[in-house]
Amino acid sequence: MASAVPAVSMVGITKRFPGVIANDQVDFEAASGEVHALLGENGAGKTTLSHILTGLYRADEGTISLHGKPVAFTSPREAIDNGVGMVHQQFRLVSRFTVAENLMLGDRRGAGRHFRIDPGAVDTQVRDLGERYSLGVDPRARIWQLSVGEQQRVEILKALYQEARVLILDEPTAVLTPREADLLFATLRQIAGEGRTVIFISHKLHEVMAVSDRVTVLRAGKALATVQTTDATAQSLATLMVGRDIKPVTREGQARPDSPPVLEVEDLWAEGDRGITAVKGVSLTVRAGEIAAVAGVSGNGQRELAEAITGLRPYTKGSIRVKGKPVRAGDARSAFEAGVGYVPEDRLGTGVAPSLSIAMNLALKSFRNNCRGPFLRLGPMRTNAEHEISTFEIKASGPDQQTDYLSGGNLQKVVIAREFSASPSVLVAGSPTRGLDVSAVEQVHSFLLRAAENGTAVLLISEDLDEILALHDRIFVMYEGGLSEMPPGASVDEIGLRMAGQAAGAPPA
């Protein structure tokens, strides 16, 4: 399997950013014909390393060679010309272009080289590639019409079309249902089977165990070890990745039919940003002290549902009641005054005003009650901020620090501190642990559990099934704007099928 000359060899790679060493003397090797997993927590330096390999960043130190030939890419263009392709977490597709047009974009070998573009030729190529790797997608479809899973296929097709011999995928399963993920793994195995190299970046152990031949574990910017996957266990990899034994938060989930209902949503309809109906007749009741967990692939209306409940998005039909009192459509202030707290999915743009101070962000909702006439009471605002920084263990230089200088976990703690200190009766949390490292995840989970213990009705929306399984009292699945409840004790497979719209057995088109 591994040939004498490694397909990718990175030696002594160091990359510094202000205040952090993202990669510290990292050695990494991947052979032709293997699926090589790059495992590590968020912030361990996986993405940085792959960006160095694809020419987006330049290493401060270290050397890279491909198939034994030293290279020094100064742009992604050079990386592509040398057969290195990458599927980023955020897709790099032109949403108004068709699939074929996106493939032609930046193509300097085939159809894209000519002044007059012949889409027909590319169409057939797309179909051939799609058939060969079971990545079927209509070449004439426009990107915005495609589901996220299909867009990912386009990204992979693009790399194959550019004749990538090294294909890097950054957290590719984050946007997929479990079944779609399995199909992707089969495709990756096939690509590797042709003698290409697949580098699979993930922090999910079971995926790494399922798909890879070898694993390199990164922690805090350092490459700790490269092992054969067959020699490793999920537990051994976890210990390597985190540096200590992890004790995931678990909880005996139970429905609480006797608690008073706090959040009552009835036949709710709301539109998405494009004006297309995104929430279709959702009804749900969350009782005091209960955690209702909503699973689903992102983009199925979860964000719109959360925003409608929290007043950020007007709903077109239906009703929302908090403790029996109706909440006005599209009025965030009346929602939070009614006791609805919100930890938004987009924490940097929505959850905080990034360039304002931590003190101001902690007072983002309460400043109106902390005033003398029209004047702010800056003293109490500051004291309160200092208090919350210490209670929620926010690592910051002080209340005046600009908020976007905080790390992801600390930023999330600012949001949580603010929302919790208002003692909400309903708490809506959208992907509250996305992008956080393991210890921050533990803390956020324990905050959520504490909120539920104190009688808050928690609506947890997440794409991470492990998180949902660990915290839920009841599980819901959101698919194409509709919400349905899973029976108690449903298995991961059953949830996965529901996430794919119950299209059991058939591959999603």
Partner: protein, 381 residues
């Protein structure tokens, strides 16, 4: 060896002062090279410039005449730009403020009102005129999401044409229709004495008159600072200026806020217009080559940018820019390079905007050898 820009983890306070000052010095340095190349002595030219702006008898009076309207338009721009509302329309809002302010002065002053009352009415009417004009792009932005840069800019031309129409192309209330001069060349009606704004004279340099408008400008700067730094209104404005979504999330009524800030910005510009009439012109200047050629509204934007939207700094920068413009006017001709003031202003703006990058980032020299560059300690990302 290469240079890299790194984002600063902390922005030291002194930098936001040092960078603009250095930008100004840099601009004079570059302009000095231009002067040398064209055979002038930079040092003596700058000396001449400085004398004409601040030292010669009567020069400060002239400087204040230019600096006062610049302070108003600069504050108007700063008030809106802080919230990322790009009101380019201070120019037009100032014309409208001049028209409405003059109407109050002509009408009430002509009917024998007391001077304090007439002036107060002019101030209020000037503010209202500017506000009304600014609310046109404000309403369009808040309710139709129309780009306020375009609408406010285009309304400047409408306001300018209106100004010309009132004096040149109609027998309006603002136009002087009696007397020999009026029959030769159209002019605005002179304000009655009770509507003329008083000045406060200091007896140095042959008497310097501080116009009342300059006092209002300083007062407006104080009000703006308190409003933005110390009040609920300012808190919401800061959040909205930083992130639209965070503002909605924190319960800011976004439309109302846009209207309020546009109204505030327009009011300041309109007050500048009233001051223009009450302090200096004493009549509405409809000449297309008069007030409209001075471009106070546009220079105000430059001033606001140089002052980094800090109201106190706006007043200071307006004073310095006023001096520069005044000196340019005084020294024109003779053997003084005519375009110099424009060149210096341009370079100052470029270097100040370019200097922004140094406030947010630091330059690091990276040697390709290993283990040389140290990193600044800071929180792990």
């Amino acid at each position: 060896m290469r240079f890299t820009f790194e984002r600063r983890l902390r922005q030291p306070g002194w930098l936001s002062l040092a960078v603009p000052v250095a930008s100004v010095l840099f601009a004079f340095f570059v302009a000095g090279i231009v002067l040398l190349a064209t055979g002038h002595n930079p040092l003596s030219t700058y000396r001449q410039l400085f004398d004409a702006a601040f030292l010669q008898t009567g020069s400060l009076n002239q400087t204040l005449i230019v600096a006062t309207p610049l302070a108003f338009t600069g504050l108007a721009a700063a008030a809106a730009f802080r919230m990322k509302l790009f009101n380019i329309g201070a120019e037009g809002q100032m014309y409208i403020g001049a028209i409405t302010g003059a109407a109050a002065g002509l009408y009430l002053g002509g009917n024998g009102g007391s001077s304090a009352f007439v002036i107060a009415a002019m101030v209020v009417m000037g503010c209202l005129g500017g506000t009304a004009w600014a609310l046109i792009p404000g309403v369009l932005r808040a309710f139709c999401k129309t780009n306020e840069i375009l609408t406010s800019l285009l309304l400047n031309y409408v306001a300018g044409l209106l100004l010309t129409y009132l004096i040149f192309q109609s027998q309006s209330y603002w136009r002087e229709t009696k007397g020999f001069n009026a029959s030769v060349f159209p002019t605005g009606k002179e304000l009655p004495p009770s509507a003329v704004w008083p000045g406060w004279t200091i007896h140095v340099q042959g008497g310097i008159t501080l116009p009342l408008g300059a006092g209002f400008a300083v007062a407006a700067a104080v009000v703006l600072w308190v409003l933005y730094k110390r009040t609920r209104f300012g808190f919401e404005a800061q959040v909205l200026g930083d992130s639209d979504r965070a503002a909605r999330y924190s319960g800011v009524r976004v439309r109302r806020k846009i209207l309020a800030v546009m109204a505030l910005s327009g009011a300041i510009a309109g007050l500048g217009g009233a001051s223009q009439v009450g302090d200096f012109a004493h009549s509405v200047d409809g000449d297309p080559n008069g007030l409209q050629k001075l471009g106070y509204g546009y220079t105000g934007i430059v001033i606001a940018a140089l002052a980094r939207y800090n109201p106190y700094a706006v007043v200071l920068v307006a004073f310095l820019m006023g001096g520069l413009e005044n000196a340019g006017n005084t020294l024109q001709g003779a053997n003084f390079p005519a375009g110099l003031v424009g060149v210096i202003q341009g370079i100052i703006l470029f270097s100040a905007l370019g200097g922004e990058v140094l406030i947010r980032h630091r330059v690091r020299i990276v040697r390709t050898k290993r283990g040389v560059a140290a990193t600044e300690p800071g929180p792990a990302a």
